[in-house]
């Protein structure tokens, strides 16, 4: 029963967010929809748990709002982490290219 209710709630949240973004940033609607979907997909388990805690009055609405916002900040940290790891990989790739060039030069020219 609860899971069914949550699915309805999730759909309503998504629809409201897409409408809200569409009204405010019409040109970005397509991209925003993808971002919203990604956010909800990544956050679904947590949102379910927090909604259950709210329904059971284990947390209040302010707590709930705080946690949902923390998820947004969590994703900022994930994005930074991914960007950093990607940069490290590119750095390694760059070093390999330089090494390969030097080795080829040693063999062919010197």
């Amino acid at each position: 029963m609860y899971i069914m209710d949550f699915e309805v709630l999730l759909k309503e949240i998504k629809a409201s967010l897409i409408t809200l973004f569409g009204e405010k940033w019409g040109d970005l609607e397509g991209e925003s929809e993808k971002d919203i979907e990604q956010f909800l997909k990544d956050s679904e388990e947590k949102l379910k748990r927090w909604t259950m805690l709210l329904v059971n009055k284990d947390i209040d609405l302010e707590d709930y709002e705080w946690l949902v916002k923390s998820q947004k900040d969590f994703m900022i940290m994930q994005a930074l982490h991914s960007a950093g790891v990607h940069k490290i990989s590119l750095g390694h790739f760059k070093n390999k290219i330089v090494g390969a060039i030097v080795n080829i030069v040693k063999v062919v020219i010197l």
Binding site: S70, G91, H92, I101, V105, I109
Partner: protein, 153 residues
């Protein structure tokens, strides 16, 4: 003559790659790694006390705040360290709902609910793990090469 031209082209591209600052990342730093773990553990212990009065823990919260300020200053001044610095800035922003944001909420509410603490703590600990894991992924080769250079001379 043709060979010299080739060598010059190769040297040019090597220089181009090596001087590409946007791809440089600060080397692994044992101090940063260790300090981040210490802050995570201290924060974890303090967060658990969130059900009690904020004013009872002013000294411990102040001490933790000072440690966070120190590491931020340290990370800020390391070259090619933008990502780690940006991560610490998010954690230390009282308007964001993570590490320092938690202590701000505790201050505002004076005491927090156990379920809220449990959920908030998981969020904070998970992002601190991201920070620690990122440090551990940084290049250890650079440091090892430097140490080799120092010991060989």
């Amino acid at each position: 003559m043709k060979n010299i031209k080739h060598i010059l082209i190769v040297v040019f591209f090597c220089n181009l790659f090596l001087s590409c600052n946007s791809l440089k990342t600060a080397a692994y730093d044992q101090y940063s790694f260790q300090k981040s773990i210490e802050i995570k553990i201290d924060a974890s212990n303090l967060i658990d006390k969130g059900t009690t009065s904020y004013t009872d823990h002013l000294k411990d919260i102040g001490d933790l705040g000072l440690e966070i300020q120190k590491i931020i200053e340290y990370e800020k001044n390391k070259p090619n360290n933008e990502v780690t610095y940006a991560m610490w800035q998010v954690l230390a922003n009282k308007d964001k709902n993570l590490l320092v944001g938690f202590f701000r909420r505790w201050k505002d509410k004076k005491q927090l609910k156990p379920f809220f603490i449990k959920e908030a703590k998981k969020q904070i600990m998970d992002v601190m793990d991201l920070l620690i894991q990122y440090e551990s992924k940084k290049d250890k080769e650079t440091k090892e090469k430097l140490l080799k250079l120092i010991t060989n001379n």
